[in-house]
């Protein structure tokens, strides 16, 4: 993607990453009401709107922490589009009947749309990853969890009461197991698409 100019609203993304209450409150005050209005006008209620907003906020946090989110459009437009699409996906999942959707409300902003697609890919990738991770054995999950939160492998070995050599090998193999599964999923997907 061509690196367009970063929008000054990047401060919202930084605020989310820093868990800045004032920024979060201002998002709820300025950007959330529009989302609630939209969801309530499209077969949803207030609680469902609250859930969608919360999930999107967590997605933004994860994206910001992974340093993969550079805002090239106003935050408000991006946030609304993300929430809207999330809600439409929810509707599709839960209802077999046709859903009436008020499309006129959408203001499509080219770069917002591009960013939203990136966010959705990020989310999808993370969900796939989480599913794979859950498939690992308990020992693998524990070793990986400690290895990536503590960093020093000597400390990890000490904590698990095993040798450094063992924990290093175990870590490589557990990451390898995930690699294999994800690689297989990728190959399967490209087979399907061809």
């Amino acid at each position: 993607m061509e690196k367009s100019k970063i929008h000054p609203d990047q401060k919202y993304i930084e605020g989310i990453a820093a868990n800045d209450s004032a920024i979060i409150r201002s998002i709820y005050k300025n950007s959330v009401p529009k989302v609630v209005f939209y969801i309530m006008n499209n077969s949803g209620d207030k609680d469902q709107a609250q859930d969608v907003v919360q999930e999107i906020m967590i997605l933004l946090f994860n994206q910001a922490k992974a340093n993969t989110l550079l805002l090239t459009c106003p935050f408000d437009a991006y946030f609304f589009l993300l929430c809207k699409r999330k809600w439409l996906n929810e509707l599709k999942k839960t209802s077999n009947n046709g859903v009436t959707i008020n499309e006129d409300f959408a203001s499509i902003n080219e770069s917002a749309l591009e960013l939203v697609q990136e966010a959705e890919q990020f989310d999808e990738k993370q969900q796939l990853f989480d599913t794979m991770f859950q498939k690992l054995g308990d020992k693998c999950q524990e070793v990986l969890k400690l290895s990536f939160s503590i960093k020093s492998m000597e400390e990890v070995a000490e904590k698990l009461n095993v040798t450094y050599g063992y924990v290093r090998k175990k870590k490589s193999l557990c990451v390898g197991q995930l690699t294999q599964w994800i690689q297989e999923a990728k190959n399967f997907k490209s087979l399907k698409n061809n």
């Binding site: 979060i24 201002s26 709820y28 959330v32 967590i58 992974a66 990853f129 290093r168 690699t179 690689q183």
Partner: protein, 241 residues
């Protein structure tokens, strides 16, 4: 599973190879697309794991804070402190009206008591065993501010957080120790914690208590619009006009 390959990947990424091993590894990457693809996935998995577990605590703190703010936002129309039952409100209101009829003195200035809501403390949500903290919360919420002060002081001595400082300031204010209270809130005001705006609000209340209406107004005007109880700030500003 190709165990040796994954061990090799890890050794390469950890920088544990000799120059020769490195060269032959890189040669393999450039010549064998299947090897290269798997190596890239391996690296991506590492990044995912770092994202997942590297920020675990920060993520939990974020979600907790987020839920708090969201609950406040979405339930704004409900009363914030549900200490009184509706019929108490009705009783209190009728008493207030009676008093008002008796002592109606055309004094239009807002009074401290109208805006004085000490709030509820929630220090011990996460199975805390600090006795002072538990007692501080208990006495504060029972409105025994005089008793709460020594407990809060004990907690502050161990671990000075903005939250405890704030409730300490409120307790001092409620027990008429205005000067001490003002000092605490002034300290919070110059910090950057979430209690900054709350501290400003209490400093404004102190001025109101001392009937320094201009001073009160000046402080109110410095409170950010993002303050959670900004409605009340506006109301008081309006009443002062």
């Amino acid at each position: 599973m190709n165990e040796e390959r994954y061990i090799l990947f890890d050794q390469y990424l950890q920088g544990e190879m000799t120059v020769e091993e490195r060269n032959s590894f890189e040669k393999e990457v450039s010549e064998n697309p299947e090897f290269a693809a798997e190596f890239i996935t391996f690296k991506n998995v590492q990044v995912q794991l770092e994202n997942k577990f590297g920020h675990e605590q920060e993520r939990e703190a974020f979600i907790e804070n987020l839920s708090d703010i969201a609950d406040k936002h979405f339930n704004k129309d409900r009363p914030k402190v549900v200490l009184m039952r509706p019929w108490y409100y009705a009783a209190a209101a009728s008493v207030a009206i009676l008093f008002g009829l008796f002592f109606f003195d055309y004094n239009q200035n807002p009074s401290f008591n109208d805006y004085n809501h000490p709030g509820q403390a929630h220090f011990t949500e996460r199975s805390n065993t600090n006795e002072s903290l538990i007692q501080a919360e208990k006495t504060f919420n029972e409105r025994k501010f005089k008793e709460a002060i020594p407990f809060l002081e004990a907690v502050l001595k161990e671990n000075k957080t903005s939250e405890i400082q704030y409730y300490y300031g409120v307790s001092l204010l409620q027990t008429g120790q205005d000067k001490e209270s003002e000092a605490v809130f002034n300290e919070l005001k110059s910090g950057s914690s979430v209690y900054k705006e709350k501290a400003l609000w209490n400093l404004a209340l102190l001025k109101l208590k001392q009937k320094d209406y201009n001073g009160c107004k000046e402080i109110l005007e410095t409170i950010s619009q993002d303050y959670e109880d900004y409605d009340e700030v506006q109301e008081l500003l309006h009443a002062l006009d």
